[in-house]
Symmetry: C2
Subunit: 558 residues, 2 copies
């Protein structure tokens, strides 16, 4: 730099400063461009490829699931506290659709809505130790308010028996107060130590909990089954997910209850069973603990403890639905619970399209949208600038919208729209003047086809097995099994041990090994296949001498 004049030095500095400013501006512009394109900036580059699901459902099911629920904008991981999730609008749409459907039915049954406090005192927990024991390790304890210690710590409810039943004892004064049926829609907290998974296992979840009291076992039992039917209806009619209804074994029933009925689902990708919702008859166990009695109307002067039920269904249902229907492109939503059922995408517009033609095209799209809305279809038009139709297709496929409609000048000329089904990829056209009937029909067809496909898969992977040696291969082939089982708790424990694989291949990489998880009972299905002779058929456990009088469904499970 020697010999450089002061003037040129100054010019140089100015140039440097300008260059620096230009660089900063460019960097900012790049960031904004990326922001605008909805893409994360990774090392300063646009990463278009990150948009889709990066693994297949078959290769890495667990990662696939996490990517789907995140990228389809169903949830966010709550950064602040692990094990908690934000439920975004498309999830809440599903939950509120379920809520309306179920609420309408239980209201007609005479179930009333109530809202009990979210906290339990340490004292009230002592009253029903057996029931609480299972929840104790997962209780979240509030010990301080502001900066003052509470005199008695309070726990966030993991479920509300201990909160509600003291009031049942107060309110139920006569058999005329029966049935007492209350339900609440709320969230509960179970501070799980295990790995959490969006929807399936979370430290806080939304659910409904119904708690009812009846005069006798029979009346309680009728309700247990009615509720269970509606739980099955939520899965089958709304979520297009097949379930098997049945009764839990002694080992698997609700600890404090008399018997538990359940709807059990099946995840084809890993062959695991999953509990979908439970409707319990609590018998008189809680009414004895909480002293809930009435005078027997058939035997004056004689006091009897009421019969109680409780039943709950949670946002877990959403996770089951995602696992059953999703594919390598992302989420696949059944139309009845999709917030957006149909996305309309403009195609065939390019630089040579005149402004008038563009405007006409836009108006035609809005007309189509209007027609569909009037027909009751939840529909939107994707007018976003700067994205190719192909990019939009991928985006909406990722988000699981059941039906895509494409519309361009050619379609306009032919007076049709072109469509693509999300579930099957099937394409076709529908005449413009038939939109208001054909599109709703098509959506219903998609709903039914999705259910049929899942139902076939579950049916084909529910194997009746009468030879013990076939059990483990069946599980490895992603089946659940129906086996003759004696019902004994210890026998069930032993079956789990016998089907738990010890690691025989220490050198094989983890993801190439068969699963080691043992099987447990899922339910004793109400619908029993033939083939069991009571008092004769033997329990399938080779070590068991017991007789089986029911087929019991076993499987690896969530």
């Amino acid at each position: 730099m020697e010999g450089v004049t002061e003037q040129s030095k100054s010019a140089l500095k100015k140039a440097e400063k300008q260059a620096k400013m230009a660089a900063e501006k460019a960097a900012k512009a790049a960031k904004n461009a990326s922001k605008q394109a909805n893409l994360p900036v990774v090392g300063g580059k646009k990463t278009d490829d990150i948009i889709g699901i990066t693994v297949t459902k078959t290769d890495n099911f667990s990662q696939w699931y996490q990517e789907v629920v995140l990228k389809a904008e169903m949830v966010e991981y709550y950064q602040e506290i692990s094990g908690f999730f934000v439920l975004r609008p498309i999830s809440m749409y599903i939950w509120s659709t379920i809520r309306k459907w179920f609420q309408e039915r239980i209201e007609n049954l005479g179930v009333e809505e109530a809202s009990f406090p979210m906290f339990l005192s340490a004292k009230s927990l002592e009253k029903e130790k057996d029931h609480v024991e299972g929840f104790a390790p997962e209780l979240a304890w509030v010990t301080k308010a502001g900066d003052k210690d509470l005199e008695v710590p309070v726990a966030v409810r993991p479920t509300s028996e201990a909160v509600m039943y003291p009031y049942y004892a107060k309110w139920i004064r006569s058999h005329r107060d029966l049935p007492l049926r209350l339900n609440q829609w709320n969230s509960v907290v179970r501070w799980e130590a295990k790995q959490t998974t969006p929807f399936l296992r979370t430290r806080e979840f939304l659910w409904q909990e119904g708690h009812t009291a009846h005069l006798n076992e029979e009346l309680a039992g009728v309700e247990v089954l009615q509720i269970l039917d509606w739980y099955a209806g939520i899965y089958e009619e709304l979520l297009a997910v097949p379930v098997v209804k049945g009764r839990k074994t002694q080992n698997e029933k609700f600890a404090g209850g008399y018997y538990t009925t359940t709807v059990e689902g099946y995840i084809p990708s890993n062959g695991r069973g999953i509990q979908g919702g439970t409707s319990h008859c609590l018998g008189q166990n809680f009414s004895k603990m909480f002293d809930i009695t009435v005078e027997d109307p058939a035997n004056k002067g004689n006091h009897i403890h009421v019969w109680q039920n409780s039943w709950g269904l949670s946002t877990r249902v959403i996770g089951v639905m995602v696992m059953v229907h999703g594919d390598n492109k992302g989420l696949v939503l059944p139309p009845r619970i999709a917030k957006l059922q149909t996305i309309l995408i403009p195609v065939g517009i390019n630089k040579s399209t005149t402004p008038e033609a563009r405007k006409q095209h836009e108006e035609q799209l809005l007309d189509i949208q209007h027609t569909l809305k009037k027909a009751g279809v939840r529909v939107d038009v994707d007018f976003r600038d700067g994205y190719t139709p192909a990019w939009k297709f991928n985006d909406w496929e990722l988000k699981g919208v059941p039906l895509r409609i494409e519309f361009g000048p050619k379609d306009a000329a032919n007076k049709v729209v072109s469509f693509a089904r999300r579930d099957t990829g099937e394409k076709g056209t529908v005449a413009l003047d038939e939109l208001s009937t054909k599109i709703p029909e098509l959506l219903e067809t998609i709903q039914k086809d999705m259910y049929s496909k899942a139902e076939t898969s579950f049916r084909e992977h529910r194997l009746k097995i009468t030879n013990w040696d076939e059990v483990l291969p069946a599980l490895d082939n992603k089946n659940v099994v129906l086996i003759p089982f004696c019902g004994d708790g210890k026998c069930e424990d032993r079956i789990k041990e016998l089907t738990t694989r010890v690691d025989e291949q220490p050198d094989v990489p983890e993801n190439q090994k068969p699963p080691t998880m043992g099987m447990k009972s899922l339910c004793i299905p109400f619908e029993q296949p033939e083939g069991i002779v009571a008092g004769e058929t033997e329990c399938l456990n080779p070590e068991c001498k017991g007789k089986a009088d029911k087929w019991t469904m076993f499987g690896r499970s969530y």
Copy 2:
């Protein structure tokens, strides 16, 4: 007992034992009879008189209120933890009616439902200290899960700004993501140190909290007012409670926000104002704290902070409704939010009625019920045995059912039903063949009349005052006042001091003294009376030199 034979001794013992058993049996029977009759046993006696409200609304308003909400079966005090309440079905019916009404409207506006976790980490609270400061003393802290201490304690949300806005920063990437409008229906916890009151001030309460982001002030402002209109609609159209819409003063606005709009109610019994629901424009305060920006579409390259609103309405609305409409007999429910709108009571049946006549009467009642149900009326028949019609009248009046219908053999002969309105006590008849039109009309009339009565009362007790000396007498006469006010915060503080009465009568019993509470501003009503000349009219505070350009509503308040 000398000379008594062994035999007679034994007989005596036996007799004693029998007598004891008989006494026990009698005591038990008495308890059961009481239980059956729904009456508390006090010292072994039935206490029919406890059923009604034991004080008048005028004499002891606070006890009156507590008795009404308890005895009308709206709430239970939660015995385990003070400051918490159980909301029973008639309360939840009101809340879910409000929920449906409001949800439908915000959905049409494009507000989506979401569900964020109930906990906040200590860390996230630090980010927005100013906002949080007000809530800090009321935060419930979870410090333990099971028997393990949490590494970082978490607080139960008192409101969700700090939970939600980090995600707004993540989701809002472009102006095309605006408006972002989310709402959640949940419960929040504020561990109040002050005396709690059912509905009005409770440590946990149900509410909805809407949080939205917009491109600019104008768009945000339109929404603020739209929501406020709907809040007014909830009060006026559903709860039959008049409110005044307006803007909060600087002193009374939401601490973290830009401006606050509010609907203000009025409790005639004590002349106090009560805040009914608030719709805030947060301005850019939170978007700056949480770095929520978009590129300005009108000025590329330039990033702007979004404009945010938040708005919330809680179960407090139910308490206001109870206070406004209730009377010395108990609750009075407006028909639109009454779970039970009409109660049908059999009358004129006595010991001489033949079984056939009884049966016919019963069938006629069921027919009437059926007709009314078909006409959309929520109606029940009180067939309870062992209670006089008069007892039933009292019971349903206590519970606030808007319309009582009596029906007996005389009515049957005249082909009419007799009715009594809960709100006015007015009686009349309706022809049987006009039930399906006249009863729904009558219910709508009751709804409107209840609103008119309350509206008149509020209007007559909202006094325009331009003479400082009239302020305190106006407050003592259970008015709120409209005064010219400069808007200054310190002046407002001083007005409160000046209207706070020092105890001048130490010998007068507490309940006979005028209230000492000073007045604060309720709102600057949107609807301004005439009479203020901007730049001329002086602030009413005699110590203030400022000019007033608005009438401001002040009052003693909740």
